[in-house]
């Protein structure tokens, strides 16, 4: 079985982002970029399925600028077999990403597509569901456990009230939540090996898709800053403040 994993290059999760003075977006110059953490979990899950003899090939796909090659390279070092970059410097919104991925899926015919549940930059949480819709496939989102069983896959999902397990017919789309696995660090030999793996580059045009944005960002602003408060000396002082100053307890 062939697995396709979609990944995104994003601002590293440890970076405290700053809004640009002209309110057009986020300051990206000289900011550390990394693979979206949820996508690392997606790559890890695919590699584990391959290690367990359940998958034969892992194709890593990203849509983004030339620099996303590095991110693909990281996924190849974790255990991906080859990469595809749909290269564009334009803003690609979730629906357009899903269309690009659908075009790649049509060419590659994987049985399973695994993606992170959300990218930590735009926090949209859409692409997996949209891709499943465009393909007419079932979706198992927010997965904290997956198990291949015959011609289906059992997905345990993190939902508001706890956990839910569903069965999907293959082919299917799965999106990962934080507790699915703990991604490995690539070993040095594997990083060296990954340098020799192929990454094909495609233009969105070549896939015959329209990636024009549907949403216009009018402005990006900083949220109202919270005033840091005071430190209180002890429990009695805290209770007094909560009762008499903040008036949030009786």
């Amino acid at each position: 079985m062939k697995i396709l994993v979609a990944i995104k290059r994003v601002v590293d999760f440890n970076v405290k982002v700053r809004v640009k003075a002209d309110k057009t977006g986020i300051e990206l110059a000289n900011v550390k970029m990394s693979m979206n953490p949820f996508d690392e979990i997606a790559v890890e899950e695919a590699v584990r399925l391959k290690d367990a003899g359940k998958a034969t090939e892992i194709v890593i796909v990203s849509i983004g600028p030339q620099a996303a090659q590095e991110t693909i390279r990281t996924a190849l070092a974790m255990g991906g077999d080859r990469g595809i970059l749909v290269q564009t410097d334009a803003e690609v919104q979730p629906l357009a990403v899903a269309k690009a991925l659908k075009a790649v899926v049509d060419k590659e015919s994987p049985n399973l597509v695994v993606l992170g549940k959300q990218a930590i930059d735009d926090d949209s949480n859409q692409v997996g569901q949209m891709l499943a819709a465009l393909l007419g496939w079932p979706q198992g989102t927010f997965a904290s456990k997956v198990a291949l069983e015959g011609d289906g896959i059992a997905v345990t999902r993190e939902v508001d009230g706890g956990l839910e397990t569903i069965n999907l017919k293959l082919p299917a789309v799965v999106t990962t939540d934080l507790r699915l696995n703990e991604p490995r660090y690539a070993s040095l030999p594997n990083i060296m090996k990954a340098k020799k793996k192929t990454i094909d580059t495609l233009a969105p045009d070549a896939l015959g898709i329209d990636v024009a944005p549907r949403l216009t960002t009018l402005k990006v602003e900083e949220p109202a800053k919270r005033q840091g408060g005071v430190k209180v000396a002890d429990v009695a002082a805290l209770v007094d403040k909560l009762k008499n100053e903040a008036k949030v307890i009786g």
């Binding site: 859409q126 569901q129 949209m130 819709a133 508001d160 549907r214 408060g229 430190k231 209180v232």
Partner: protein
């Protein structure tokens, strides 16, 4: 202009997140219809009909909607979408799962987790774990929107008398089946609608130690939450997680115990009215957002606090 709001429910009762979504839809303008899709969900439809300002409640009562599986539910919403300008859902696990699927089937963008309505086609949404707010305008004919419950007031639950109408189920794509669920049971207020929330982090050290959090919560009539670290360590179930990828809460009072205050945690609670931090590290970033900070050992402070209330 009419909005169709997807009700969030468990077939027995309507969830409060639906009421916030109704308020958001009101701000978008036009009439409001509510869709209740489920199985044996008549009581939910009756509750939805009582929300003031709702003109009509559509009920799709069929086995394929019993567990809100994405494929049949999206097919249903798409089959009903024709006359609607806005398709709105709470940003709950159901809304987040199904609305992007609906949007893609309609070939329109989806606007996730909005925190404000500027106009019928323009919305504010948090990005980068709430460290920035983007104002976005949709050029699509239909707006498919999910709503962050913590930033919209809840619509009233009585006074309305909407017409209740049954609608036909859509063809079931038959791609997935429900197997089981393991829901946390709790007598405490639900995290996202509790007036007070007490959350524990890695500093709690174990699930057993969470008892002191629960004792404090019960004294205050509060809901109980946790950081990702506490959930990952298995102290408490996943649905306790507050943050960028967990629940978003904005109670009157949030008490963070043994939580350092990572950006991803702050994303879920920094809109709380009053924040209290209890942490032994005076440099912990949580103190930068806390109105009242208490530096010290939580194992001493929390029981003392519980006793003094």
């Amino acid at each position: 202009m009419t909005s169709l709001v997807l009700a969030d429910h468990d077939n027995a009762s309507l969830k409060a997140s639906t009421l916030s979504a109704v308020t958001a839809a009101q701000q978008m303008g036009g009439d409001i219809h509510i869709l209740v899709a489920g199985q044996g969900c008549g009581a939910v439809a009756q509750a939805a009909a009582k929300i003031p300002g709702v003109a009509k409640v559509l009920v799709a009562d069929a086995a394929q909607y019993a567990n809100a599986l994405a494929e049949p539910l999206a097919a249903l919403i798409v089959s009903l979408a024709g006359p609607y300008s806005h398709l709105v859902a709470p940003a709950s696990s159901v809304g987040k799962n199904v609305m992007p699927r609906v949007a893609a089937l309609l070939d329109v963008a989806q606007i996730s987790d909005i925190s404000a309505v500027v106009s019928a086609d323009t919305f504010v949404r948090p990005i980068y774990a709430g460290n920035a707010l983007a104002t976005v305008q949709s050029k699509d004919a239909k707006k498919v929107v999910t709503v962050r419950g913590s930033t919209f007031d809840k619509a009233k639950t009585d006074g309305g008398s909407a017409a209740v109408e049954n609608v036909n189920p859509a063809a079931d794509p038959g791609l997935s089946t429900f197997v089981s669920q393991a829901l946390s049971k709790s007598e405490r207020p639900e995290l996202t609608s509790a007036r007070i929330v007490v959350s524990g982090g890695r500093g709690m050290g174990s699930g057993e130690n969470f008892k002191i959090i629960e004792a404090l919560a019960d004294k205050l009539g509060a809901g109980v939450g946790a950081s990702r670290a506490a959930v990952d360590a298995g102290f408490v179930p996943n649905d306790y997680q507050v943050g960028q990828t967990g629940k978003i809460v904005a109670p009157d009072l949030y008490i963070a115990v043994g939580i350092s205050g990572a950006i991803q945690h702050l994303a879920g609670m920094k809109d709380s009215k009053v924040i209290v931090a209890i942490n032994k590290d005076p440099e912990a970033p949580i103190f930068q957002v806390a109105d009242y900070g208490l530096v010290g050992d939580l194992f001493q402070i929390v029981p003392e606090l519980t006793k003094s209330l």
